[in-house]
């Protein structure tokens, strides 16, 4: 479980996140949604410690994460898997080496054991016969899947996904969403997904937090989102003409 309490973050005096408090539950796909520039990525990066926060508390289970020093934070981070918007695969390493990297760095396993784990993770995300390929030779969807394989290679307790569907076609995006949901349930991870894709929201949004202009405006599930009274949320959810039409016809 990850708990955020009264989190504030500003850049050069410009308040980006204001007084955000929210709990992200384990075994569920928790979604942070909002418009571009609403502060989603800053919130996600603050939670994982890539940004220092101005005030507030970030709890990883019983540990107050934002008060840890660099080395203590490193220990927590070994339990974190992260899928970046651009995949962030290491260009100079092959698919196999990318997935093996955390195992090389943090386990004392034999080469054979590590390769077994690599192949298991790659199979789990449906990447077959691509071990020796380099990131530049992969499609966008494959890159995302390899990045997921790398993120789960150490059996993380926490999984973070920043815009996992950006740049993907709708079908591939759904496959990535389903994969994230399956893995979350399989490993009982606390998963936080940052997105503005409404397909993702309706597909995997077990808990949804809506951020607007750096403030938490709404939280609930995908079943509750359609009936929300929050105007800003409704403007976001029913942004296109078809959605607006469906909303008005359902009324």
């Amino acid at each position: 479980m990850i708990s955020i309490k009264n989190l504030n973050k500003s850049f050069n005096g410009n308040q980006v996140l204001s007084n955000i408090s929210v709990d992200f539950e384990p075994g569920k796909t928790n979604l942070i949604i909002g418009r571009s520039g609403s502060g989603k990525t800053v919130l996600l990066k603050s939670i994982i410690g890539l940004h220092d926060i101005d005030s507030g508390e970030i709890w990883y289970d019983e540990i107050l994460f934002n008060k840890l020093d660099f080395n203590e934070m490193k220990e927590i981070r070994k339990e974190i898997g992260m899928l970046f918007q651009g995949s962030a695969l290491f260009d100079s390493l092959s698919v196999e080496q990318n997935v093996k990297f955390p195992l090389d760095m943090f386990t004392g396993k034999s080469e054979e054991e590590k390769l077994d784990r690599v192949n298991f993770c790659l199979n789990r995300v449906n990447i077959i016969n691509a071990n020796k390929l380099f990131p530049s030779e992969l499609s966008g969807g494959m890159k995302k899947r390899v990045a997921i394989a790398r993120a789960i290679s150490l059996n993380p307790k926490y999984l973070f996904c920043d815009e996992p569907n950006s740049g993907l076609d709708p079908l591939t995006a759904i496959l990535i969403d389903e994969l994230i949901k399956e893995l979350t349930e399989e490993y009982s991870m606390t998963t936080i997904v940052n997105t503005h894709d409404m397909n993702s929201v309706m597909e995997i949004g077990e808990k949804i937090v809506f951020i607007s202009e750096g403030k938490k405006c709404w939280e609930g599930s995908k079943h509750e989102i359609l009936d929300s009274d929050c105007t800003i949320l409704n403007d976001f959810v029913f942004a296109n003409a078809l959605a607006k039409q469906l909303k008005s016809s359902s009324k």
């Binding site: 981070r77 992260m82 962030a88 260009d91 955390p102 090389d104």
Partner: protein, 247 residues
């Protein structure tokens, strides 16, 4: 002034992170071997070519500027040797490497920064500064002295080829000149300078790349800054080290 001091502080904080205890030494060893090839061996070609022509030009310049019957011609060889040993091989090699290796390091690390690869390392719990920069510093500290020795040898050889081909000095006089009044400390001096320059080039370029913010345009700017700043620092430290080591 405040910005300069802030950057200087940031540079030393980065160095502190770079020289902290490695997570897994065997991984760092592999990385260092990779960097030895990438930053060191791959620079042998350009250093060889430049040093050859540098030696050739120094010999011809010395010969044409000392055309006087009272100067023995072997002094051309001596002049060429000492110029190469004392200045050209260490400093010019460093300036060339600042361009080649410096821009390479800044753009590689800068690209990793803007494509979130450095964030990915940090999230995994890896000390990204140490993992990315320390092997490069060790590799250049280990290999650049060899590049300087190669440069000295090839430069002197280039001078011999040019001098004898142009007929400005005989082979015997040149060989006698390069052996005459040889001071072995000059080689030590050149290597000490090279070690300082290698550290400056690698750390300053890595610093420029590591803190890039933005996109490809900023990576390009960081790469240019890396070359400019490390070249200026090489020249500045050249003066300081010359005073310290030869006075």
């Amino acid at each position: 002034m405040f910005r300069f001091l802030a950057q200087l502080g940031q540079y030393f904080l980065l160095l502190k992170k770079v020289f902290s205890k490695p997570e897994k030494p065997v991984i760092y060893y592999k990385q260092t071997m990779h960097e030895l090839v990438y930053l060191g061996l791959n620079s042998v070609g350009i250093i060889t070519i430049i040093s050859f022509f540098m030696g050739a030009v120094i010999t011809l310049q010395t010969a044409y500027n000392t055309e006087n019957p009272i100067y023995p011609t072997y002094l051309i060889g001596l002049g060429c040797r000492d110029s190469i040993l004392l200045e050209f091989s260490s400093t010019i090699t460093a300036l060339i490497l600042a361009g080649k290796v410096g821009s390479n390091i800044a753009s590689e690390i800068g690209t990793m920064r803007v494509t979130e690869q450095i964030d990915a390392l940090e999230i995994m719990g890896v000390n990204s500064a140490s993992y990315l920069i320390l092997p490069k510093i060790i590799a250049t500290l280990l290999f650049n002295p060899f590049l300087t020795l190669i440069s000295i040898s090839v430069g002197i050889f280039g001078g011999w080829i040019a001098g004898t081909s142009a007929g400005v000095i005989s082979s015997e006089d040149y060989v006698y000149g390069i052996q005459y009044a040889f001071i072995p400390y000059y080689v030590t001096y050149a290597i000490i300078k090279t070690l300082f320059f290698a550290f400056i080039i690698t750390s300053v370029s890595a610093f420029q790349g590591y803190f890039v913010e933005g996109g490809s345009l900023e990576v390009g700017r960081a790469s240019t800054k890396a070359v400019v700043y490390s070249s200026i620092l090489v020249l500045l430290f050249n003066v300081i080290l010359t005073q310290l080591l030869l006075s």
